[in-house]
């Protein structure tokens, strides 16, 4: 309910409405399909808007809201434990000490187990990347980046092709 120039000034100040998400991105998998009883790697490749940061998965201070990937269990797909990148130590006007944050590109990886009973077909994997963004003088409410991926299960006789090697070649999972 703020009009015209006020909106522009405020958005310029606080960056944006949350409808234009501070964090955008998608989920990818390391092969074009998966076999029953195998393990795959998935990753959420996200981008934090310029001027903003989100908190490290292990925040420097206990009151900060951590970045967290939460994938829904969706049999026969069984997500593992997420592996987060190391944050960057940054000093902000509102902090006396540097805090560890994510800025720019962010890749959160996770292993994915495909149950041995999985029948060939397409299965949806869904979840959210939970985050809370701030810039140097204001914070936005905690938000979620919804992510989803259609995962194709094929018979063991079918050959798989690697995909998104640019993401997975350097990704280390726990």
């Amino acid at each position: 309910m703020v009009r015209g120039g006020s909106v522009m000034l405020l958005l310029a100040s606080l960056g944006r409405s949350q409808s234009a998400p501070v964090v955008s991105g998608s989920m990818v998998i390391d092969t074009d399909a998966v076999h029953p009883g195998s393990m795959a790697k998935i990753a959420v490749v996200a981008e934090v808007a310029p001027g903003y940061h989100i908190n490290d998965h292990v925040p420097t201070l206990d009151y900060l809201i951590p970045t967290e990937l939460k994938l829904d269990a969706s049999p026969p797909l069984e997500p593992g434990t997420a592996a987060y990148p190391k944050g960057t130590a940054r000093k902000f006007q509102f902090m006396e000490q540097p805090i560890s944050v994510y800025e720019g590109k962010l890749v959160v990886g996770e292993s994915l187990k495909i149950a041995a009973y999985a029948k060939p077909g397409v299965y949806q994997l869904k979840g959210n990347l939970d985050y809370q963004a701030c810039n140097d003088h204001a914070c936005l409410a905690p938000a979620k980046l919804p992510v989803s991926l259609a995962i194709k299960v094929v018979s063991r006789s079918e050959k798989l092709k690697p995909s998104h090697s640019d993401v997975f070649s350097t990704l280390k999972l726990n």
């Binding site: 309910m1 703020v2 009009r3 015209g4 120039g5 006020s6 909106v7 000034l9 405020l10 958005l11 310029a12 100040s13 606080l14 960056g15 409405s17 949350q18 409808s19 234009a20 998400p21 955008s24 009151y63 900060l64 809201i65 902000f92 006007q93 509102f94 902090m95 805090i99 809370q132 701030c134 140097d136 003088h137 204001a138 914070c139 936005l140 409410a141 905690p142």
Partner: protein, 280 residues
């Protein structure tokens, strides 16, 4: 003669530098934090609210009529908010006897975290848990901290979004304290930029379609209107929400608010309303 020229040139340079710095500050530095103030005579009335503070006491804005109020929307997880709190504690201590009060509204937080913070930082003013309806009443809260300065007449004189220096608050508070209860402070001079403030109405502060007054719709009409909103995308750029999702998940989005209001107007004018209206 040469010395004179040097002095004149130096003076000209100083003036140019001063003007340059002024414009640099006005255009690039000052807007880093937004301060919004209504033009004299048009200060909107601060929307009334009644909450229960974290100590269990009633916190109603009406009880502060006649006082100057700094209404602070904040959160314990918000670093820029936390840095302002000790300043508010000091201001409360300094100006309380002159009729000044700080009221805190914690947004998207937990009572436990707020209570712990309250004790740890020895807050000397009431703090209550906020909600989306209250945020909508105050024009939607784009980010935290967001503070409103309310005069003794119960009207909002300024809004500060983002970390704001105590000098700005103090300058404005002193001016408002000089006002008389029930009277507008006509000579109010903002410490920040002069901008317009617009608050919401109780009808717009609803959970069905936040920011859009659907109070005149029947239950069936509301369901039909929500269906329409849910069938249209929000064109804010990149959110992938429908208009209904956008209103509910981000009440601060001006794009979906405008579109939803336009759609409501059309809806009310359309045959849909006639078809779903109760027969009299």
């Amino acid at each position: 003669m040469t010395q004179r020229i040097k002095i004149v040139l130096g003076a000209v340079l100083a003036v140019v530098l001063g003007v340059g710095l002024y414009f640099l500050n006005a255009r690039w530095i000052a807007p880093a934090t937004v301060h919004r103030v209504k033009a004299a005579g048009k200060h909107p009335a601060a929307p009334d609210f009644s909450l229960t503070d974290i100590n269990g006491a009633k916190l109603a804005l009406a009880d502060y009529r006649g006082k100057v109020v700094l209404l602070d929307f904040w959160a314990t997880w918000c670093g820029p908010c936390r840095i302002e709190i000790p300043e508010f504690v000091q201001m409360q201590q300094k100006y309380r006897d002159q009729g000044f009060a700080v009221l805190g509204v914690a947004m998207q937080d937990t009572p436990d975290s707020v209570s712990k913070f309250y004790q740890q930082f020895r807050l000397n003013y009431p703090v209550a848990m906020g909600n989306s309806q209250l945020a909508a009443l105050y024009g939607g809260i784009f980010g935290l901290p967001t503070s409103f300065l309310i005069g003794r007449d119960g009207h909002i004189y300024s809004q500060h979004s983002g970390t704001t220096g105590p000098d700005v608050f103090e300058e404005e508070v002193r001016q408002l304290l000089a006002g008389k209860p029930g009277e507008e402070v006509t000579g109010f001079s903002p410490a920040g930029q002069v901008e317009e403030i617009e608050v919401g109405t109780p009808g717009e502060a609803n959970a069905d379609v936040p920011g859009v007054d659907v109070s005149k719709l029947t239950t069936a009409q509301l369901a039909a209107f929500e269906k329409q909103l849910d069938a249209n995308p929000c064109t804010c750029g990149g959110c992938k929400f429908t208009l209904l999702q956008c209103r509910r998940q981000d009440a601060t989005c001006p794009v979906s608010k405008k579109l939803a209001r336009e759609m409501l107007q059309k809806f009310q004018d359309s045959k849909t309303i006639a078809a779903t209206a109760p027969k009299t």
